[in-house]
Amino acid sequence: MTNKYYEFFCPVKVIAGKAALEHIPYELTGMAAKRPMIVTDKGVRAAGLLEPVIAACEESGLEITSIYDDVPPDSSTTVVRDIAGIYRQEKCDSIIAVGGGSAIDTGKAVNILVSEGGDDIAKYSGAGVLKHPLKPFFVVPTTAGTGSEVTSVAVITDEAKGVKLPFTSSFLLPNAAIIDPRMTLTLPPHITAATAMDAMTHATEAFTCMAKNPLSDAYATAAIKKISHSLLNVMDNPKDSDGRLELAQASTMAGIAFSNSMVGLVHALGHATGAICHLPHGLCMSLYLPYVLEYNLETIREPLGELLLYLEGPEVFAATPASRRAEASISAIRKLRDALYKRCQLPRTLKETGKVTEDQLDHIAEMALDDGSIMFNPKEVTLDDARAVLRRAWA
């Protein structure tokens, strides 16, 4: 008997497809929620993405009690406390987060405060602090990449202390994730590309890192197949709602995969680069993915080779000798990045970003080495190894 063991958990109800938003009133009523609060940001409101959500609720006689639309890109403990204050003042009984990673994380943190009580979110920071289910919480993602709608983590900045507070609990998972293609139809090309590559990285690392398991593998491969099939079509036809839905579903599936099998060095380097150079997360993922796969190659040859089937399809997979499939998978990812660069100049190297200087590489390497994701990378990473990967990713 081997020591193989895994855990898999995803209780989030996924409501996906045409007119998915119109299911929100029914789902809220099913949880005895009558006074929902929307948590979102100015960009989402300006893009007109709130209207279909509000209309869907009002048509069913459900009034949105309060809307907070000022979530910043890096949400803070002050913002969370303020929103919780409004929630209590307006006697809301449920939360609908509409937006990307920041709005969703803010919604999760607000839900902790309004369910557990108090004004100090910092005291709930850490793993396993929450012991009870929270208020009804729904998520409507407006980007197709983060997968936050199916993860049990939130990160909120403590401005006073200048640190990022992590919150981890299965109670943070929303009751439902509503995936409606209308919400991603207007995403600009470079965000579509970067967020899709974020999802691609979630799935690829979930499939090749240490905590991979049969269930997360199934979600990861399905996500990679959808992204490979749909991303370039959507880049060429942004109003292709079927393609948009495919990418949104892929993002959720990749989220389910990586939240159950974790990620590795791509994320460790990406988190450090984001913190030091303020580059968007999805861009960092796209940038580092092939270089990290090359670094890990000999430890992940078999699973990486399997991914060729989902990246390039059965014909290419069958025509490629088994011993060359892992390299072919990396080539397929490089080819996809080249195609995205051609369409929206999504950078492929650190130099192409124009926002990173060569003298920052050492700092990035040092910070990446202390990132939690590095624990799950299949190959041990030393400081010199991290520096070498960064040098390859430089130009």
Partner: protein, 181 residues
């Protein structure tokens, strides 16, 4: 029938083994921080007075070490002078036994959800590197390869033997001092 009778003894033996290994590891952490520069460099990033705990949930065996500054650790046994800053917790004694008997690598135990981290993850990553370095020194290479993700390529036999001898000597001295006290 026989198996049922033996089972409590097996459980007791496993508990004693885990307890003993925690005592050895705690003392060895203190010792390795006195002999190895790489461990000292890793530990220097921890705040002075930082308390690290490894324990078996819910209230089983534990080891507590403190970073006293300059990259040095001090072993506190299983009693913490104040609330710990970082705790790595095995969910069950069976999981601690798997790791401490080198049937499962520390990194694999994390990946398999056998352990929880309570505290700053970046410090947990750092302490895992320290534990890996320690295991690479004090275990024969064949066993160390089962315990760590990757055996350090730059750790050659003479350095390993000399460091291991110094660590074991310090651990033994510490045990004797504890008994005398």
């Amino acid at each position: 029938m026989l198996a049922k009778r033996i089972q409590p003894m097996v459980f007791q033996a496993r508990r004693l083994y885990v307890e003993l290994m925690f005592q050895v590891m705690g003392r060895a952490l203190q010792a390795v921080s006195e002999v190895d520069e790489k461990v000292q460099n890793e530990a220097r990033a921890l705040p002075d007075g930082f308390l690290f705990e490894m324990m078996v949930m819910p209230d089983g065996s534990k080891l507590i070490v403190e970073h006293t500054g300059q990259g040095r650790f001090r072993y506190h046994g299983d009693k913490s002078p104040r609330p710990v800053d970082l705790s790595i917790q095995f969910k069950h004694i069976a999981h601690a036994f798997l790791v401490l008997s080198f049937q499962e690598k520390t990194s694999v135990a994390f990946a398999n959800d056998r352990m929880l981290v309570d505290g700053d993850i970046s410090y947990a990553v750092r302490m895992t590197r320290v534990l890996n370095r320690l295991e690479s020194f004090i275990l024969p290479k064949l066993i160390a390869e089962r315990a760590v993700k990757e055996y350090p390529a730059d750790l050659h036999l003479p350095e390993k033997l000399i460091s291991a001898a110094r660590i074991y000597l310090k651990v033994a001295t510490n045990f004797v001092e504890t008994v005398r006290a």
